[in-house]
Symmetry: C2
Subunit: 224 residues, 2 copies
DNA sequence: ACTTGATTAAAACACTTGTTTGAAACGGAC
DNA sequence: GTCCGTTTCAAACAAGTGTTTTAATCAAGT
């Protein structure tokens, strides 16, 4: 840990790591202060209490860097290429190649089981990222698409990225230890998700003709 | 709660609900026994300790019902239709229309942050479901596809379903309260995920020709 | 009615938690 | 040096945790 800093920052950094690893209620202020090399009373001196420290840590997690909305730069490139670049950056985050490890982990925790810190997190990090993605895929979809369906398509894309972060352990059990290490490759995953999503977006060009070939017969229950 | 039952079952049922709601370490044996109408010592009398009770609750969650591998029945139908039926059932689970609420919630918790109970859960519930999906989409993909890429495609499909369960609160903040209630509709979501996935699978028919139009230029960093 | 085994109940135990307290140590200003 | 505000520390507090213990209760079996 970096010494010679504001003890408030040291405490915040240690808190971020522990909170990301164990969550708000599972982390203890003793462990946090121990890691920070400070006394137990520090958390109450610099912040009000444990929860305030947590909220501040989440805020720090999504305020540092701020590398989200810099995609409008390559607007000249074809949208397929922009999408691939976006997905590569996103998957880089999912695979922990970008930030200090605990930043994203803490944000993921907050997204899965939100506290009061979540609204600000979505407003300043998730939201802009989502809007960027929508702008990227917008020209790849038919012009008459509704904002509603645009949201659905964007959801389908980010969902694929999130899977490899949230369900790593299940995936490991599912495909085996060896097959899983070869699976978690940035280039491979980026390419697959890009191809899969691009094909889906192209297929959506005909909203009422080709797609949904089986929509009226599907209400039957599947009981043997 | 159903009375006149083996107190072991009553305890297990109450434990399932509380564990699903709060997780293993956040739930207290006092609250569980309180809900079950039993004494605190019951958890140590019928089960060994809290963790053993938890493992048993997870086992109960994925053993009751067992409605997973009944999809081979309608093998006569076209695979597109089978996929839609599968996705409808899966989304029904995600939207809490099928089982008693806590069963799936507990499994989701176990998948997100696995304990020792996860291996058995994957082996007897997640695994078969995943294999079923792979068999369904198998005829929709080119014959020469590798098991590896088949896994990737199946992952991309289940990922879309899981999103609407895991990130409900984020989605709510993202698209607004009103837009979100209209979003969480079983038919609408099933139709979208089916269309999106079918289009993607069709697009994968040309594994080296049309797809991945932008793969060599994408290594540039996106720094302004 | 008495005994025996299984079940339930209340209390206590040992431990950890977040938070608070009050005094000690520090660092400049005068 | 003396003073004073800021920062650190060790100790204690009250509340809550899982677990154990010990006695009470119950339901047959004889």
């Amino acid at each position: 840990m970096e010494d010679r800093l504001d003890p408030k920052d040291i405490l915040l950094e240690a808190a971020g790591e522990i909170f990301a690893e164990k969550g708000l209620e599972q982390a203890t202020v003793r462990e946090i202060c121990g890691k920070a090399g400070l006394n137990i009373a520090a958390v109450n001196y610099y912040f009000r209490d444990k929860k305030a420290l947590y909220v501040e840590a989440v805020k720090l997690a999504h305020c540092t860097g701020g590398q989200t909305p810099q995609f409008e730069v390559l607007e000249g490139a074809p949208p397929e290429q922009v999408l691939e670049a976006f997905l590569r950056q996103m998957m880089g985050m999912m695979l922990d190649d970008v930030r200090p490890t605990w930043h994203l982990e803490l944000m993921m925790r907050e997204m899965a089981r939100p506290t009061e810190a979540c609204v600000e997190l979505v407003r300043s990090f998730i939201g802009p990222m989502f809007e960027t993605l929508k702008q990227i895929i917008r020209p790849l979809l038919p012009a008459e698409i509704s904002p509603f369906n645009l949201n659905l398509h964007a959801f389908s894309i980010v969902a694929q990225c999130l899977l490899y972060r949230y369900h790593r352990p299940v995936g490991r059990i599912l495909v085996g230890e060896d097959g899983y290490t070869t699976l978690m490759d940035l280039d491979r995953l980026t390419r697959h998700i890009t191809d899969f999503s691009l094909a889906a977006l192209r297929g959506a060009s005909t909203p009422s003709k080709g797609a949904t070939a089986t929509q009226s017969v599907s209400h039957q229950e599947t009981k043997p």
